[in-house]
Amino acid sequence: MASIISVDTLQDSAGSNEITTANVKTAFDQRVKAWIHYNGSSASIAESHNISSATDNGTGDYTATINSNMSSSTYVVMNFVAGGDDRRAAHSARDELVAGSWNLICRSAVVADSNALTDENKVMGATFGDLA
């Protein structure tokens, strides 16, 4: 049988670090639901949470597949590319965002490259919102 303590507020034993039970729930509900650090050069996952696989769709175009799906397609994704000073890359999601996956797109920020797609070895993304 599950044990439950009903309480409004937690504090540590010194009376510090007070937090309400409501905010404990908020912190859990709003945590990052899935994240990935992907190597686009070797098409491999460096590290991840709640990711079942990643797909290399072509130069600068990757799909992260979520293990436990998001509840809908209206969640929020933050993608980031750590490129060198001479190969900085813009980052953007593809038009489609679905409950079970999202895209990470890498584009060169070098003007002469006309924002061409580019493979980078430190491509990162995270999702926020509700799980199914």
Partner: protein, 123 residues
């Protein structure tokens, strides 16, 4: 009357999943305080602590917060669709301005599926 438990750590009845009260507090302090996913017509598809979007013109929006941030030194990150980029256009305790431009010619552009998160302290 508000009930308070003073405890160093919490664990389940099997003695697993232990975490300190201090780390529970840190988890809340560093959780996103706002996130929103909105479209070109300023409609919200999904959100947390974002009450509305103001459409200021082509590619120019204000994301309004339900509960204000403590000050304007919070951190935010944004993302929009392929071939467009997004930047800030004013930052305040109760909203943040979002400016969306095409990558090809930097022209202001109305895009669907615009996403933003805010981390920091609430007021």
């Amino acid at each position: 009357m508000v009930s308070i438990i003073k405890v160093t750590s919490v664990q389940d009845t099997s003695g697993n999943n232990e975490t300190t009260t201090e780390n529970i507090k840190k988890a809340y302090n560093n959780s996103p305080k706002v996130w929103t996913h909105f479209d070109a017509d300023a409609s919200i598809d999904g959100s947390f602590n974002s009450s509305s979007i103001t459409d200021n013109g082509t590619g120019n929006f204000d994301v309004n917060f339900t509960n204000n941030m403590a000050d304007f030194s919070y951190a935010a990150s944004q993302l929009t669709q392929n071939n467009t980029d997004v930047g800030y256009n004013g930052i305040s305790v109760d909203h943040i301005g979002v400016y969306i431009r095409l990558l090809s010619n930097q022209a202001a552009y109305d895009r669907n599926s615009n996403q933003l998160i805010v981390v920091g302290d609430l007021a």
